[in-house]
């Protein structure tokens, strides 16, 4: 019986029989992100660490998106109470994210998303009489302004209230959906790369071309991270000033030209090309839409990571010899107990002239870029009383965003407040756009929003500590360590809130300024690319071992991509000599540097060519 239900609803439905034989509670837990037909709704996994799940969001830039629908199978007819897990994302005082739910054509409860509370919680949608065991559930967006739904619960225990804290909800969800009981076997790999941004993708490609069986796990449907069409940040940092002839070749393959930041045409960022390059590698298996949220360890080694599909919630376990944390947030390192830092160090601690006087939690912010296009006809944009408010006195007179559109700056935690940050960016974008359309029709009457990112382009979060921590002095004095491995060229580029923006939106800044501190090309030591206390963990990308100040220069994507390439080479040597990342530094540095300098013959015994189609 249970097997049949499971088959019917693809894991969405489960019954819990209470221990008391006289009464059985029956719960039907529908994850919104698992709807069969998502219509115009999108899956958002950015708050996974906070709510333990992805959710579905109506990102229509002010125009209602198409309905999402799915078929719900009930274990029996009769009365069920309906609970809907949602929030009012902009309760100022009431948000615009309004939607309704309909089962078999009948509306469930009232309008959701306008409660005035931005806490994720269960809302009682009343009791329904289920007459058919199979019914169509439809989610109808009313505004196009980012209404969102995590899950819908039907329960025949009419007095049951579903749990709402992260731990209890996770336990409840896992129980009713069986998510964690038997993860699928993702396989064993020489190198498991977590994070499919530029750094992770370059790491995975390089390792696989060197003959390593490699997994690339990415929590979005596209590769490229901040350089994907979901975020649209252009690649920065030079590869032509590289000290190492071997490095930058894969970065160049990833490079789709320079469309600038926030180009309205998604294809400029080459998502399909990036995926095609990866899929052409025979030693490389890519797992998209998979969010890694758990690791398994033996002593100081990671043995496996477990990822959950952001749509189906299917769990998969990947075992490996080496792991590379290219998540940006340092998620793998964090879960494994790797030493890490977040925020600014003090001058006293690092001796850096650009460091803060006192250590604090300040980080660079997150951008949600956007662009508009000129159309033939005049259009309007809805009023946005729930958004930030602008006037002739202060507004941002732009038809397309650039890097300055940025929220964070210590006002919000870039990991645990990721949703708030994105939402704040949206309130700035929509509020400003609404003002421009009405207040400056001579310029904006015929312009329409073409694209607004709902995935945040995050700059800074955790930095995993390695055997070396790169500092401002390393950079400015141009220190060449024997393991100097990646050439970096970007200025020390530490953003701060724009002064005028601060004046008008103190504590709620969304617009940045910077001072570029110019640097001569310098090298990042290999020791910044592996964890100092997790013995088989590499890092590449923004979460490598640097101070906050040095990170201001290493963080750009071409540089991050070259870090990935180095990780690929180091993992290859690790496997060859059956040693740890640190072992590569201690015993095989000459060979690593030789490879980077292109002065040793290619490795033998590995068939690379077959992988390059």
């Amino acid at each position: 019986m249970k097997a049949r239900w499971n088959r019917l609803v693809t894991g969405l439905l489960l019954m819990i029989f209470s221990t008391a034989p006289a009464y059985a509670q029956r719960h039907v837990y529908v994850e919104a992100e698992s709807f069969e037909n998502k219509g115009g709704w999108v899956t958002d996994q950015q708050s996974f660490v906070v709510i333990g799940s992805s959710y579905l969001m109506a990102h229509g830039m002010g125009r209602p998106v198409k309905d999402a629908s799915t078929t719900v199978q009930f274990p029996g007819t009769g009365k069920y109470r309906v609970w809907v897990r949602t929030k009012d994302w902009a309760p100022f005082p009431k948000g615009p994210g309004k939607f309704t739910l309909h089962l078999g054509g009948q509306q469930l409860g009232n309008v959701f998303g306008e409660s005035g509370s931005d806490e994720w919680k269960w809302y009682d949608a009343g009791v329904i009489d289920v007459k058919e065991t199979s019914a169509k559930l439809v989610m109808k967006d009313l505004t196009g302004f980012n209404g969102r739904c995590d899950a819908i619960l039907f329960t025949d225990a009419l007095k049951f209230t579903p749990p709402n804290t992260l731990a209890t909800l996770n336990a409840f969800r896992n129980k009713v959906l069986h998510t964690s009981s038997t993860p699928a076997d993702g396989g064993h790999f020489d190198l498991v790369v977590v994070g499919g941004g530029i750094a992770g993708t370059c790491a995975a490609i390089n390792a696989s071309r060197l003959g390593l069986k490699t997994a690339l796990i990415q929590d979005r449907p596209v590769l490229g991270g901040n350089n994907s069409s979901e975020v649209r940040v252009h690649l920065r940092g030079d590869i032509d000033k590289n000290h190492y002839p071997k490095l930058g070749r894969i970065v160049r393959e990833m490079d789709n030209g320079d469309p600038g930041n926030g180009h309205p045409d998604a294809s400029e960022y080459g998502d399909a090309r990036k995926i095609a390059i990866v899929k052409a590698e025979k030693n490389l298996t890519v797992f998209l839409n998979t969010h890694v949220h758990k690791v398994e360890k033996e002593k100081d080694r990671i043995t496996a990571v477990i990822g959950r599909n952001i749509n189906t919630n299917q769990e998969t376990r990947f075992t490996g010899t080496y792991f590379s944390d290219c998540t940006g947030d340092g998620t793998v390192g964090y879960l494994a107990g790797a030493d890490f830092r977040m925020g600014r160090e003090s001058k006293a601690e690092t001796g850096e002239s650009l460091a803060a006087e006192k250590a604090d939690s300040f980080t660079l912010g997150t951008s949600n870029l956007w662009a508009s296009l000129e159309k033939d006809t005049v259009s309007s944009f809805p009023e946005t009383p729930w958004a930030l408010q602008f006037s002739d006195e202060y507004h941002i007179d732009q038809d397309r965003s650039d890097w300055e559109w940025e929220t964070g700056f210590g006002n919000f935690n870039t990991i645990t407040d990721a949703e708030k940050i994105r939402d704040h960016n949206l309130r700035a974008i929509y509020g400003n756009w609404s003002y421009l359309k009405k207040g400056k029709p001579e310029k904006y009457a015929k312009r329409e929003l073409a694209w607004v990112a709902y995935i945040g382009g995050k700059r800074e979060s955790r930095r995993i500590m390695g055997d070396h921590v790169l500092t401002q002095m390393d950079i400015q004095e141009g220190k060449r360590y024997p393991d100097g491995a990646v050439t970096a060229t970007w200025t020390i580029d530490l953003h701060f809130p724009n002064e005028k923006n601060s004046k008008y939106f103190e504590g709620q800044e969304f617009f940045a300024s910077t001072k570029h501190i110019r640097v001569a090309p310098y090298t990042i030591p290999y020791r910044c690319l592996y964890s100092r206390n997790i013995s088989n963990l590499f890092m590449a990308g923004r979460n490598i071992s640097t101070t906050h100040v040095a990170f201001g220069s290493t963080r750009v994507m071409r540089t991050c991509g070259m870090m990935g390439e180095v990780v690929g080479y180091a993992a290859y040597l690790g496997k060859k000599y059956k040693t740890t990342p640190r072992g590569v530094y201690q015993q095989h540095l000459d060979e690593l540097m030789g490879i980077l300098n292109d002065d040793v013959p290619q490795q033998q015994g590995v068939d690379n060519k077959a992988g390059r189609q």
Binding site: P91, P93, K94, G116, S117, L388, S391, D392
Partner: protein
């Protein structure tokens, strides 16, 4: 096409010139180099100042070659640049001697209009490759702007023109205009400024009619009220925050609550914060109590705090909502009423009803 464009630019001037009785006062200003230029002030037929303008003739020099530029600039009375137009028969040209296109005139207006610009941060030698009009590849290193942004903020082939004109619009002339306008300060001008839609005028005048403690000069109360209830949220917030408590008489408190009802959320929050520092009269408290549950939780909390010392009438109004209000709000209202130790019969009765209702629900 160009002719039409110039005609469009000329229209306001022609219109202005057509106003009968309009007067122009001229000022000879010495600049830092010691040379003199003429600044003009347009006055209406009653002699009230309207705006400043200059008929500019300036050399724009580059690569050893200078060319004359004729252009008219207009500013408001506080030296905020508003627009330019071209004298009849004059055009702007680029280094290759090609004339500005229509969109380049439009772009120039945008460039000069910017209060802050890369021109304020960068010297010409940092901006362009020496002796050329080409934007230097390292220009972005000296500023926060990217090269792309910098290119967006100049007109290619006319970087020197943009640079020169921006500095003419935003340079020392601004201070001269402000000095002149000071001499025209009068009650009438202050009213005019406060009632205008120009936030520069409003801030300037507010500084004059409100002292450091926020006491509003007699006769300007309504002007300040107009700003608080006006459409510019920033001037509204400024006036609200600056005005001293005594400005908010009981009558004005009630008026402020009307403003609250129609205000954007951030101003609503600013009003609640302001009210926390006032001795509220019963009339406004009754209004607040009537809508205490409207809005979000933060607003509910702020409103309840405003009503903490409320008398029996207000208590009654709160108590009347106990049974119907959303449970968590009702619970907070009940607690607040308990703290008020009300002896009012109706209030006690409503509280008991609420107690009974919650008891039933608990069962």
């Amino acid at each position: 096409m160009r002719l039409i464009w110039l005609m469009i630019w000329m229209l306001p001037v022609m219109a202005a010139a057509a106003v009968p009785g309009e007067q122009i006062r001229t000022f000879e200003i010495k600049d830092s180099s010691g040379s003199t230029y003429t600044l003009k002030l347009a006055l209406d037929n009653s002699g009230r100042p309207q705006y400043f303008f200059r008929n500019i003739f300036t050399p724009v020099c580059n690569t050893g070659e200078c060319k004359p530029v004729y252009i008219n600039f207009y500013w408001d009375l506080l030296g905020n640049y508003t627009r330019f137009d071209m004298p009849a028969g004059e055009v702007l040209t680029k280094t290759d001697h090609r004339e500005f296109k229509e969109e380049e005139y439009r772009k120039l207006q945008e460039i000069i209009s910017r209060e802050t610009s890369i021109f304020s941060e960068l010297k010409m030698e940092d901006l362009v490759v020496k002796g050329t009009e080409k934007i230097s590849d390292s220009a972005d290193v000296k500023t926060g702007a990217t090269l792309k942004t910098i290119k967006n903020e100049v007109i290619e082939g006319a970087v020197y023109t943009c640079y020169t004109l921006w500095h003419l619009a935003h340079g020392s002339v601004v201070e001269e205009m402000r000095k002149i306008t000071e001499t025209y300060t009068s009650t009438a001008l202050l009213h005019q400024f406060l009632q205008s839609n120009n936030h520069h005028y409003q801030y300037w005048a507010m500084e004059k009619v409100m002292n450091a403690e926020g006491r509003v000069q007699k006769g300007f109360e309504n002007d300040i009220a107009g700003i608080i209830s006006g459409s510019n949220i920033f001037t509204a917030r400024f006036a609200l925050q600056k005005a001293a408590p005594e400005y908010f008489t009981p009558a004005r408190q009630s008026w402020l609550w009307e403003v609250y009802t129609n205000a954007a959320y951030p101003l609503q929050m600013a009003i609640l914060k302001k009210m926390a520092g006032l001795r509220l009269g019963e009339a406004v408290m009754l209004k607040i109590a009537a809508v205490v549950t409207e809005g979000n939780r933060q607003q509910f909390n702020a409103k309840m705090a405003l009503l903490a010392d409320a008398g029996p009438k207000v208590q009654q109004r709160l108590a009347a909502q106990l049974v119907e209000a959303e449970p968590s709000l009702a619970a907070d209202m009940y607690t607040a009423l308990q703290k008020m130790n009300s002896t009012d019969k109706t209030v006690r009765q409503k509280m008991m009803q609420y107690e009974q209702k919650t008891k039933q629900t608990d069962n």
